[in-house]
């Protein structure tokens, strides 16, 4: 993307806003959708969260101070929105977040927007056994192939801690798959 500050000014200027927001959607819609989908697992939920994410980005863009990259700021909003959405939905249905996630994985088998096989479902089950932060790190590193530096900026964790977290996550997933 061209000069980010100039792009943000275009996003804030009513004259250029529509076009700039079109560029923003074109650039970030897909990666953000997949990031959200990896967290919430279900397409409809991912669609809702994606919409909320872009509305919040639009509403709070004037407060964006440019201390981090626009990309990582948007990922942070998407991550928070996805986790909040999951927790609220679980609470409404009377489940804990872990139980709700387990239920969501069981539903993958009948999900028309899931083309994975039994092994991919097994992998999702293994990921669900990890603590929340390790799940996020694993999904961002393994499925989205983000760099540690990018994940570090999004999650506000040091690169060293992220490497350790990913290493632990991989070990636990391998153990789970080897024993189930």
């Amino acid at each position: 993307m061209k000069d980010e500050k100039a792009f943000i000014r275009e996003l804030l200027d009513p004259k250029t806003q529509q076009q700039a927001f079109g560029v923003l959607l074109h650039t970030y819609q897909k990666p953000l959708y997949h990031h959200i989908r990896n967290i919430v697992l279900n397409h409809d939920d991912a669609d809702d969260v994606l919409q909320n994410t872009f509305v919040k980005v639009f509403q709070y863009l004037k407060d964006f101070k440019g201390e981090s990259k626009l990309f990582s700021w948007m990922y942070r909003i998407a991550t928070n929105e996805a986790i909040t959405h999951l927790n609220q939905k679980a609470k409404r249905q009377g489940f804990t977040s872990a139980e709700f996630q387990e239920k969501a994985i069981q539903q993958l088998e009948s999900d028309v927007y899931f083309e994975g096989d039994a092994f991919q479902i097994q992998l999702q089950k293994a990921i669900a056994t990890l603590p929340e932060k390790q799940q996020l790190v694993f999904k961002m590193k393994y499925f989205q192939e983000l760099k540690y530096e990018e994940i570090s900026e999004i999650l506000g964790t040091s690169v060293g801690a992220l490497k350790a977290s990913y290493h632990h996550a991989v070990k636990k997933i391998e153990d789970y798959i080897n024993t189930h």
Binding site: H26, Y33, H43, V55, F114, G116
Partner: protein, 136 residues
């Protein structure tokens, strides 16, 4: 069977898919949505002007009060300074006034004393016996 190791496998995909044309339709929906989305105004932004006006009035009021107090203090100091300065500059006037006082009161008194002495002398002349009684 060889134990599963994630890095030795071909990349395992998440398996998630989206409806056909989802991203195009979604982009259009989002563009329409943001057109109708009001940008929230923070409390500070909302009340910035009246708050700044109140603050300005307070600052001006306090400034005037402070200036007034300083001014009154300065006036009093100037008044006493003027008196002191007047007194210092007009010491001759005080001396003159004192001399006048002496001229009028002390000389009158002296004159009165002289008159009294003359009367006494006349009385003594007229009554020669009295002088004798006094000396005795």
């Amino acid at each position: 069977m060889k134990p599963f190791q994630i890095d030795e496998q071909n990349k395992i995909k998440s398996g998630f898919t989206v409806p056909e044309g989802f991203f195009d339709a979604n982009a259009q929906n989002l563009l329409n949505l943001i057109d109708d989305t009001p940008v929230p105004i923070s409390l500070w932004d909302r009340y910035k002007k009246p708050l700044m006006s109140i603050a300005a009035i307070l600052v001006i009021g306090l400034g005037i009060g402070f200036y007034w107090k300083i001014q009154v203090q300065n006036d009093e100091e100037a008044h006493w300074a003027a008196v002191e300065s007047y007194v210092a500059e007009h010491t001759d006037l005080m001396d003159e006034a004192y001399i006048d006082y002496l001229n009028t009161t002390a000389l009158d008194s002296l004159h009165q004393n002289t008159t009294e002495a003359k009367i006494l002398e006349e009385v003594l002349i007229e009554n020669g016996d009295l002088e004798q009684y006094i000396t005795e």
